[in-house]
């Protein structure tokens, strides 16, 4: 039994167990147990990975391969490199904390939540294009109900829009995947094997575009990001956490694991188009956030900006920038999860997310507020928190290009950090500082213990990465070597 499959089996088992009982206590027990176990296995996986890495120089570790559909060479092929491990850890942490942020939800919610987790983990461990795509869609569809049923505001519209846009992305992706498979000769769906094959240049062009945009929709690629503000604003807390924290990373991960890795020539040729788009996205998202009044909208636009940076860095196609991209995924995942979790805490008490209706919460709910400030600092890239490490790696890497085009874009992208400061501080100033706007808020209580667990765990991760980045950075950097080799072949 492969340890990676465990990552899919645990949420599946949790899901099945959930179907057996309905009581609140039972549900909580099962879910906390399940996701705790998941986190544990993710950590164990990371430890084993480091151990194994030291003795093996294979590109992928813990590889398992079972033939599934022989006619199309579809295998259930799993394996991880450092990047997947990092992403798995991120997902496990966010998934685990999300459970606590959704403490009062009922069984059905958690059932969908588990399904989401199955998709996410399956996606990150997959080496086979088909299974990867399958898990990708598994992860997307529960979102519809999670937002539609348990969301707030324009939830039905938002859920529909989100699902349709993401599915449209995956429709492009499907065409692209089929193209990759058949044009490379129709012999394998395994990514590692496909990377050894060559796709003719004429085909690479369109396949690259399809795959990149397909994944890019989920990675909030401008101008396909508009599902994000509405979706995030309407989703319940823990769904926003998981969605912005983990699901959006599926896009970035796919972009480089499939689009860049399998079609390096097209990546070189076409990167400029997408660099412009992502560059716009980075700055545009930041500007878009400045005047928003809904906390979640602010964060959603901020996600557009930050996730734009992920794709931006990936497209820079150099080792450092790509390392930065993965770090940024990690960092943004943790940070945005923290944000959403805290927005959830605030919203559940004040019943508003309009920053004009709030003020002085620092005095009323100090814990949540302090955490929010920390999250804000992480978001605007304060050293010692994860955001800084990621952004700096991206910028330094992006600047390694000698030509003006890449440099000017990099400089433009760096300007986003100022705008980020503007909207983060504006929010913090309006919501947490200042006099109490609504006297009813004086009676509100601070975060509950389960919400605290969620926040503290996320902050701990953010700080650990921020203070000691070289550990995780090293793993990512080494794991990117095959991708770089692939890129330099052409």
């Amino acid at each position: 039994m492969n340890i990676l499959s465990l990552l899919v089996i645990i949420p599946l088992a949790t899901l099945l167990l959930l179907l057996l009982g309905k009581g609140q206590k039972y549900v909580r027990g099962v879910v906390v147990g399940g996701f705790g176990l998941l986190l544990l296995s993710a950590v164990i996986l990371a430890v084993l990975f480091l151990h194994e890495r030291a003795v093996s120089d294979a590109a992928m570790l813990f590889v398992a391969d079972t033939l599934w559909y022989a006619p199309l060479n579809i295998h259930y092929a799993v394996g991880v490199d450092g990047i997947s491990v990092v992403m798995i850890l991120l997902s496990a942490v966010v998934g685990f904390t999300g459970v606590f942020s959704a403490w009062n939800m009922n069984r059905d919610f958690f059932a969908w939540y588990c399904l989401l987790a199955i998709g996410v983990f399956g996606y990150f461990i997959s080496l086979d294009l088909f299974t990867m795509f399958m898990f990708y869609e598994v992860a997307l569809i529960p979102m519809f109900l999670l937002i539609g049923v348990w969301g707030t505001g324009k939830k039905e519209y938002a859920a529909m829009k989100l699902t349709l846009m993401l599915m449209a992305g995956s429709a492009l992706l499907l065409t692209g995947i089929l193209g990759i498979y058949f044009i490379s000769g129709g012999t394998t769906m395994n990514i590692m094997e496909l990377s050894q094959l060559h796709i003719p240049m004429t085909h690479q062009y369109w396949i690259f575009c399809l795959v990149f945009i397909g994944f890019g929709v989920l990675g909030a690629l401008f101008p396909f990001h508009t599902w994000s503000p509405d979706g995030h604003a309407s989703a319940p807390t823990s769904v926003s956490m998981l969605h912005a924290g983990v699901l959006m990373k599926l896009g970035g991960y796919g972009c480089f694991r499939v689009a860049i890795f399998l079609m390096p020539e097209a990546a070189h040729e076409l990167s400029w188009i997408f660099l412009i788009l992502t560059g716009i996205g980075v700055v545009y998202g930041a500007y878009g956030a400045v005047l928003q009044t809904d906390l979640k909208y602010i964060n959603a636009y901020s996600s557009v900006s930050h996730c734009g940076l992920v794709l931006f860095a990936i497209l820079m196609l150099n080792h450092t920038a790509m390392t930065g991209a993965v770090l940024q995924m990690l960092s943004h995942g943790l940070m945005t999860a923290l944000f959403f979790s805290l927005i959830g805490v605030i919203y559940s008490r004040t019943h508003t997310r309009d920053i004009r209706e709030m003020g002085g919460l620092m005095r009323i709910m100090p814990f949540a507020s302090v955490c929010y400030v920390i999250a804000g600092f992480a978001s605007l890239g304060l050293p010692g928190l994860s955001g800084f490490v990621a952004e700096m790696t991206v910028f330094v890497g992006s600047f390694e290009h000698a030509d003006m085009f890449h440099r000017v874009l990099t400089v433009l992208a760096t300007t986003s950090i100022v705008i980020t400061a503007v909207y983060i501080l504006r929010t913090v100033g309006k919501v947490l500082y200042g006099p109490v706007v609504n006297s009813d808020h004086l009676k509100l209580d601070d975060a509950h213990w389960y919400e605290k667990i969620s926040a503290v765990a996320l902050i701990a991760c953010i700080v650990i990465i921020g203070v000691w980045p070289s550990g995780v950075q090293g793993i990512i950097y080494d794991s990117l070597a095959p991708v770089m080799k692939q890129l330099t072949l052409f």
């Binding site: 829009k161 400045v290 800084f388 890497g397 504006r426 980045p469």
Partner: protein, 635 residues
């Protein structure tokens, strides 16, 4: 000297202890722990200075840098990585001493000043955080480490300015301070990116290795928009420095930052953080000098303008902390000018030396001024000069120490300010008489507004106070006294012996013509201030009325804030952000929605084709068959 790393780590530990322990610690205990915690780094710094300059002196005859600690923190690529370390050389040790001393004084002072304030523990925790960040900045071995701590001091400054977070002004001020400096830091960051790209390293020692001349050789070839890469890089780095050190036009945050508690103003916005910009330029001085001399000229004139500009504004302000804030801007600009006019080697490095010297002395007397002002505010509960007057009787210690500081900043011997200012003036004279003249005039203005302040607080109208003002408690007066003593004695340190751009000691003498002119100008300034403000009179009002246009403009800080407000609110918010948000919601999102509604509309439009009548169906059926047949036949 491996112990030096503890100078940095202890404040960090204190920060963690105080922030996590705030629930369990009583305020008083937190304060005492914080203060004790600060004592150790201070003592260690002194010991370091002693060892480096006096005891070991193993670096003689060159004050070379020694890295006492270094670890890799983040590796970007195979040859580029950020190290975290401790680099000791003369200016970093000088800064260590300054920072720890002032910080310690502020810690002690705050025990009295902040007593009973809500969030006392938080205050001490943040002070520790600031001390940590500042010390880390000072000892940075490489430019990226400096940037990291540079950001951290910015953040702690933000938190401390916004300490009274329920007051909207404080919140606005903290936000402004952070965003303005952040904007400047953007330049710093891009500068770092350019510099590190060409030199392939962040390390100060490598970049500044005069023999290897890395920066000059590697960046010579490339240019952008007509300026060389080195010029760009160094100019952008100066932008960062200008932001932190409140150079025109990025100075706008500093006066507002006075919304923070007064001890914080003393520590951060007078003595330590704001001079980080000067320190940065000094740190990279050889690179500026050799690779980007144009930028040094820029620095000179920006500094010169700022010095004069801030001094003019300071004359008109009525909020005592604002006066001090503009005075700080002006004095830092002095240091900048000094760096700008400096040369290299022997006497030519005078500007550099005295810039650092002024930084050193200014830290003490400006901290003293702020703390003195704090003592006044503490008892009067106001910042406005209008409600003060005649306080010398009530607060003798404060009065005396304040006077000492005022004399020092006015450049009256034998106080420390005289020595450092004199060196700067003579360096300026060597550079260009015009610069000298402006600086001299500014010196006179400085003396005038400082004594205006002094007289209006301690002399002037004898007011009747509802609650009679009282002398500050011991915990506040002791730091005042210590700093006053330092102000008196530090001027006699032979700075050129320790600090010079080529790290080789040299000797300088007081240039008496320059010194005399400075003393005379200072004296005139003091005299005029005395004439105006010694007693309550209508002379100031007359003058103000005569110069009303200028006076009003200066009072409103020459409307620079409004210009910035216009840029941010009108252009960035309304002009960019608003349209972007609108564009996103209506155009980008609108397009997506149109795709959706378009489908539905099409669906609605074509529904009529399904008439429900069999005969229509038959028509469609038969016609389709025909058409298909024809098409297939034809094609």
């Amino acid at each position: 000297m491996g112990f030096t790393v503890f100078i940095i780590l202890i404040p960090l530990v204190m920060f963690l202890l105080l922030s996590f322990g705030s629930k369990w610690l009583r305020p008083r205990a937190a304060g005492v722990i914080g203060t004790l915690g600060m004592t150790i780094p201070a003592l260690l710094s002194y010991y370091t200075a002693y060892r480096y300059f006096l005891a070991d002196a193993y670096v003689w005859p060159v004050w070379g840098p020694i890295n006492t600690f270094s670890m890799e923190w983040l590796r970007f690529s195979d040859n580029l990585s950020i190290e975290m370390g401790v680099m000791l050389d003369s200016i970093s040790i000088m800064m260590l001493v300054v920072v720890t001393t002032v910080s310690l004084m502020v810690h002690i002072y705050s025990l009295g000043y902040m007593k009973g304030e809500r969030g006392f523990q938080r205050y001490y925790a943040l002070l520790s955080l600031f001390s940590f960040s500042m010390l880390g900045l000072v000892v940075a071995t490489n430019i990226f480490q400096m940037y990291i701590f540079w950001e951290l001091v910015g953040a702690s400054s933000y938190l401390l300015i916004g300490f009274y977070y329920t007051r909207p002004e404080a919140v606005a001020a903290s936000k402004k301070a952070f965003i303005v400096t952040r904007f400047a830091d953007l330049g710093f960051l891009i500068g770092i990116l350019i510099l590190s790209y060409y030199t392939g390293t962040f390390d100060f020692n490598k970049i500044m290795d005069v023999e290897a001349d890395l920066a000059v050789t590697t960046m010579a070839g490339s240019s952008f928009l007509g300026l060389s890469a080195a010029t760009w890089a160094m100019a952008l780095i100066f932008m960062g420095a200008a932001g932190k050190s409140a150079m025109f036009p990025l100075h706008i945050w500093l006066p507002d930052a006075m919304e923070g508690p007064t001890p914080v103003s003393a520590l951060i916005h007078a003595a330590t953080m704001v001079v980080a910009g000067v320190y940065l330029i000094a740190r990279m001085f050889p690179v500026y000098l050799f690779a980007a001399p144009d930028v040094l000229t820029l620095i000179t004139y920006v500094g010169l303008f700022t010095a004069l500009f801030a001094a003019l504004i300071a004359i008109t302000q009525t909020d005592i902390k604002r006066v001090l804030a503009f005075s700080t801007i002006s004095q830092i600009a002095y240091m900048m000018v000094a760096l700008g006019v400096s040369g290299y080697g022997g006497d030519f490095g005078e500007g550099y030396t005295y810039s650092m010297f002024h930084l050193f002395t200014h830290a003490f007397f400006k901290a003293l001024l702020f703390l003195g002002a704090g003592a006044v505010i503490h008892t009067i509960h106001s910042n406005e000069m209008e409600v003060m007057g005649g306080l010398r009787k009530y607060m003798p210690i404060t009065h005396i120490t304040f006077l000492i500081a005022c004399l020092s900043i006015s450049g009256i011997p034998p106080f420390s300010g005289f020595f450092s200012k004199d060196g700067i003036l003579s360096a300026a004279l060597r550079y260009e008489p015009f610069v000298f003249g402006v600086l001299l005039f500014t010196a006179g203005l400085t003396a005038f507004y400082m004594f205006r302040l002094y007289f209006r607080i301690f002399w002037g109208v004898d007011r009747q106070y509802e609650k009679p003002p009282h002398e500050a408690p011991k915990s506040m007066t002791i730091p005042l006294i210590v700093l006053a003593v330092l102000t008196c004695v530090t001027g006699f340190i032979p700075f050129s012996f320790y600090v010079s751009p080529d790290i080789r000691p040299y000797e300088v003498y007081i240039h008496w013509p320059v010194a005399l002119s400075s003393i005379v100008v200072g004296g005139i300034g003091i005299f005029i201030a005395m004439w105006f403000y010694r007693k309550a009179s209508d002379r100031p009002a007359h003058l103000a009325a005569k110069l009303s246009g200028f006076w009003k403009a200066a009072y409103h800080r020459f409307y620079i804030d409004d210009v910035w407000m216009f840029i941010t609110k009108k252009i960035i918010f309304r002009g960019i952000s608003g349209p972007v948000a609108w564009f996103d919601r209506h155009v980008v999102d609108g397009t997506m929605n149109v795709l959706g509604t378009g489908t539905l509309k099409t669906s609605e439009a074509i529904k009529g084709s399904q008439t429900g009548r069999v005969q229509t169906y038959a028509v469609v059926f038969v016609l389709s068959v025909m058409v298909i047949t024809v098409l297939v036949l034809v094609l």
